[in-house]
């Protein structure tokens, strides 16, 4: 089953014969292609791969991957994934979810799969809207979002997916953009990380929330408003003309200009993915004053839930025989030899 060197695959091995049923121009197509393109590079086999999803546009994803796939119920994919992975830790488990699925109805399960650190990849397609149900505002929608259910604008504060993930105890947090060429690299890093890898993918909903991420995804805005973080590299953007510094007095990040590439002189900090405190600051950077932090924001492995459960099970079972007869006859017993006579 799981050879040391799996037979190599091509993108064709990961495509199903099913007609893809997303709206033309949906960002989901780009993510699907990115995942299908990435799989052959991971050295894994389709039969050892399981895609699990909840409900929503993104959750149709498993039907288009030639792997084992389970399209489950709204918000609960992490719980199904937990059962799958505990039952067979050899399987490579991917959870496909959206902002409503993972953060509204399934917010509880998202929190627990992250804190438990189940070994899996979680791809959260964030389009800040409920697409499948025709355009209601979602828990990531910005305040004032007008939608069929909020005709006068939404009044509640949105949740930041990556801040939520960190708060829940995630050990790997990354961001990507549906159509961006670096998405496969982010996916590979997520797969490399042993444990729950949380990836927020900004995904454009062309029908109900078009260009909602335009402020940092549009071509001309990209350079000044995206910062792609690389481990061990200085936090630079705008073609190296700007960088992120840590204001140690006030314990917050700031943007500085970098002249002549002297980022050290400007005090620009180097990205250490294991630095949890900085990760918290990176995911909270307000767009406008700061660029959108992208790539692997946080990566600090920790023993995984499935691993620890298996270890404890083995330890608890050690030296005990699975003697069913002895088990059912346990406790204080008495033997009746023959029927008693009345005296």
């Amino acid at each position: 089953m799981n050879d040391m060197t799996p037979i190599p695959t091509t993108i064709k091995d990961w495509e199903t014969d099913q007609e893809v049923r997303w709206c033309p121009g949906c960002g989901d197509y780009a993510v699907l292609k990115a995942v299908q393109r990435t799989m052959p590079e991971l050295g894994v086999r389709p039969e050892n791969t399981v895609f699990v999803s909840g409900i929503g546009c993104s959750s149709r994803f498993p039907y288009y991957m030639e792997t084992y796939g389970f399209h489950t119920i709204h918000g609960r994919a992490p719980a199904f994934a937990t059962g799958i992975k505990l039952a067979n830790p050899e399987l490579d488990v991917w959870i496909i979810t959206g902002d409503g699925d993972a953060l509204s109805i399934g917010g509880n399960h998202t929190m627990h799969v992250l804190r438990r650190n189940l070994d899996c990849q979680i791809l959260l397609f964030n389009n800040e809207i409920y697409g499948l149900t025709k355009g209601q505002y979602s828990p990531t929608s910005r305040m004032g979002t007008r939608s069929p259910s909020t005709p006068f604008g939404s009044v509640d504060s949105p949740v930041s997916p990556c801040a939520y993930a960190l708060g829940a105890g995630a050990r790997f947090v990354a961001r990507g953009i549906d159509v961006h060429k670096k998405l496969p690299e982010v996916l590979k890093a997520a797969h490399r990380h042993k444990g729950a890898s949380f990836v927020e993918i900004f995904q454009n909903c062309i029908v109900y929330n078009d260009e909602v991420f335009g402020a940092f995804t549009e071509k001309k805005a990209a350079a000044d408003n995206q910062i792609w973080l690389e481990a061990g590299e200085p936090m630079l953007f705008a073609g190296g003309a700007k960088g992120i510094i840590l204001d140690k007095e006030r314990l917050r990040l700031d943007v500085v200009d970098v002249t002549d590439g002297d980022w050290r002189g400007a005090g620009v900090i180097v990205h250490e993915p294991a630095n949890r405190a900085v990760a918290h600051m990176l995911v909270e950077m307000p767009l406008g004053a700061f660029p959108m932090a992208l790539g692997v924001l946080y990566d600090d492995p920790h023993p995984t839930f499935d691993e620890v459960v298996r270890m404890q099970n083995a330890q608890a079972a050690k030296g005990k025989s699975a003697d069913l007869q002895a088990l059912i006859a346990k406790g204080q017993t008495w033997q009746v030899e023959k029927e008693p006579r009345a005296e």
Binding site: H112, Q312, K320, W334, V336
Partner: protein, 626 residues
């Protein structure tokens, strides 16, 4: 005679042996350890070879305020030299550890019965809390009964003095003093209790010694005190039982063991997803200790995650099991629908309690039958099996695993709070006698040019079970209606009709593999059939037995298979003039029987949180025939 360890307590005078049965109730504050006392008395009684049934009845609060009426915890045991089916109607002996316990329990006591009260707890404060204007031990209001008023508190403190415990800790030994007296009273062995105390307090031997001293002091009190007629020592003979090895077992234990045995017979590892809820948690606790039997337990973040993880595990090739009580089962409804749609094996155990909503968490009821049979969106049939007693739970669990794995379907096991907590003697079965039903995972790759069809079925209409990880068989399943062979999404009208029909027919096919409905007592064609299900077996059986002894034409039919029902059930019911359906709900099986068979089933209903009394069944039989 049962060789019940023959733990005779030394060369005491022989106690006259008698036939029959006796009902004893221990009642006290929830902090008084009455459940423990009752449990240990049960163990000792079982070791003496009596048949028995128990009824633990305790408040929902962990530690209700001391001395209050709602904080009273009681444990009733019925034991005897004949077959015992119920915990008994009216106790003959009531042990009341405080005024509140007396007040809430004394009316159940049979006239002329014996009250043993801890006089040390009958101070002004406790009397006021129980709402007594005057001390009932003094004012003659208990004249209908025999009263034995003992300052158990003081005697206990005296007995444990040598061990230097504080006053509070010393008083905690009261229940052991009381147990010692009860053991003397019914000539039960003390050894199993002292063994148990030594094991329980292995780390604190002084506590073990103090408790043993209290136990012995209570026992000695019985032996030496000059007390009245009612308080004579009795020895109830062992019940005639089939030869074999016996133990006591609660429903929660028996379900757990049955699930382990069922998984073994199916050749599967077990995955149990649970979330704490009364009275279902005991199953999670039992299974969590059985890792060597390839059992993985998972305490999920909520009821929904618990069932979803179990379904995920089934999908990956384990036996997925989840367990809860009514409110939790309600939360699992949507996921059950998915298991029905994706046709994966799954066991759902419902330990029913009083409802609706939070209802009566610690009281028993049978009001989730509609929920089990009908309680999901869409046409979503699944097999339902009901447990009738703690010992029966073992077989029911095995049967549920067989049906789930052979038919690729979720199965609900209905048990209840009474069965879960109650104990009865159980003849340990030889697990080898159960026929194995090994699961045959599908692993044949499709031939060149062909595709694997995950919804192509066998003769029973079960679809193949493929473990992810199997080469050549990758496929997708989900909750959207799917094409009847490929499993691909298919919303077409004709396909949905076909799939709905197939899902219903598959579940009905289970009836081909279950035994025909038998008659627990009586013959077909009598005047009246009393039809029951679940934990009401005992009182119904005894009620029918007594009515038959009086020459009445009445039969007892007990239904284990709630859905699908045995194929002969309708024809059998139609042989009776009248049908009476006693249930601890407002008439749910009654509705089902009427619907399925167009028979005039009449209800007998009770939702007081307590089981039926035999007398209630007898009266209803009388009225039905009258």
């Amino acid at each position: 005679m049962a060789t019940a360890h023959s733990i005779e307590d030394g060369g005491r005078a022989r106690v006259p042996h008698e036939q029959g049965a006796v009902v004893v109730r221990f009642a006290g504050d929830s902090g008084d350890g009455m459940q423990l006392t009752g449990g240990q008395f049960t163990l000792s009684t079982a070791l003496a070879g009596n048949d028995l049934a128990t009824f633990p009845d305790f408040p929902a609060e962990i530690r209700a305020p001391q001395g209050t009426l709602f904080g009273v915890s009681a444990f009733q045991i019925n034991f005897g030299s004949t077959s015992i089916e119920t915990a008994g109607d009216e106790p003959e002996v009531l042990i009341a550890m405080n005024p509140a316990a007396l007040k809430t329990n004394v009316d159940a006591l049979t006239p002329g019965g014996l009250i043993i009260a801890d006089a040390g707890e009958f101070g002004a404060r406790n009397l006021a809390k129980a709402g007594y204007a005057a001390d009932p031990l003094e004012d003659g209001s208990l004249a209908r009964w025999q009263l034995l008023s003992i300052d158990i508190s003081a005697l206990t403190i005296e007995a444990v003095k040598p061990f230097g415990l504080g006053n509070k800790e010393a008083l905690r030994c009261k229940n052991m003093w009381t147990l010692g007296l009860a053991l003397w009273m019914f000539d039960r062995p003390r050894d199993p209790i002292t063994d148990w105390l030594k094991a329980k307090f292995a780390a604190k031997p002084e506590l073990a010694e103090a408790n043993i001293a209290a136990l012995n002091a209570g026992h000695a009190y019985g032996e030496t005190a000059e007390i009245g007629y009612a308080f004579r020592q009795r020895h109830i003979d062992p019940a005639p039982t089939a030869p074999g090895l016996y133990r006591t077992i609660t429903g929660a234990e028996a379900i757990s063991l049955g699930l382990v045995a069922g998984a073994r017979l199916a050749g599967l590892p077990m995955f149990f997803g649970g979330y704490p809820i009364t009275p279902a948690s005991a199953i999670l606790h039992h299974l969590a200790r059985l890792k060597e039997f390839e059992v993985t337990t998972f305490q999920a973040e909520d009821e929904i995650a618990a069932i979803c993880a179990a379904i995920g595990a089934s999908y990956a090739g384990s036996l997925g099991v989840t367990s809860s009580s009514g409110p939790g089962i309600a939360l699992k409804g949507e996921a059950m629908g998915l298991a029905i749609m994706t046709e994966l094996p799954l066991i759902i155990v419902n330990s029913q309690r009083g409802g609706p909503s939070t209802g009566l968490p610690t009281k028993t009821e049978q009001s989730d039958l509609y929920q089990a049979v009908y309680g999901r969106n869409g046409d979503a049939p699944l097999p339902v099996i009901a447990v009738r007693s703690p010992a029966d739970a073992f077989d029911c669990a095995i049967e549920a695993v067989r049906i789930a794995t052979q038919f690729m379907t979720p199965v609900i096991i209905l048990t209840d709070g009474y069965i879960a907590n109650a104990a009865e003697p159980w003849r340990v079965p030889d697990h080898e006698v159960y026929q194995a039903f090994p699961v045959d995972f599908f692993d044949e790759s499709p031939r060149e040019g062909e595709k694997f069809n995950p919804y192509r079925r066998d003769a029973k209409l079960a679809r193949p079970w493929v473990r992810p990880g199997t080469p050549g068989l990758t496929h997708r399943i989900g909750g959207i209606e799917k094409s009847s062979d490929s499993g691909n999404i298919d919303y077409s009208a004709s396909n949905h009709q076909r799939m709905t029909d197939i899902r219903a027919r598959k579940v009905l096919n289970v009836a081909d593999t279950i035994p025909g409905q038998d008659i627990a007592l009586g013959e077909p064609g009598e005047k009246l059939a009393v039809v029951g299900w679940g934990s009401t077996f005992g009182p119904i059986h005894q009620g029918v037995l007594r009515a038959r002894d009086e020459g009445k034409s009445v039969a007892h039919i007990h239904i284990r298979y709630i859905w699908p029902m045995p194929k002969n059930l309708g024809d059998l019911l139609k042989t009776y003039d009248r049908i009476l359906v006693p249930e601890l709900n407002t008439g749910q099986l009654k509705t089902l029987l009427r619907d399925q068979f167009l028979v005039d089933a009449r209800p007998l209903n009770k939702v007081s949180g307590h089981p039926f009394r035999i007398a209630e069944i007898e009266a209803a039989i009388e009225a039905s025939l009258g």
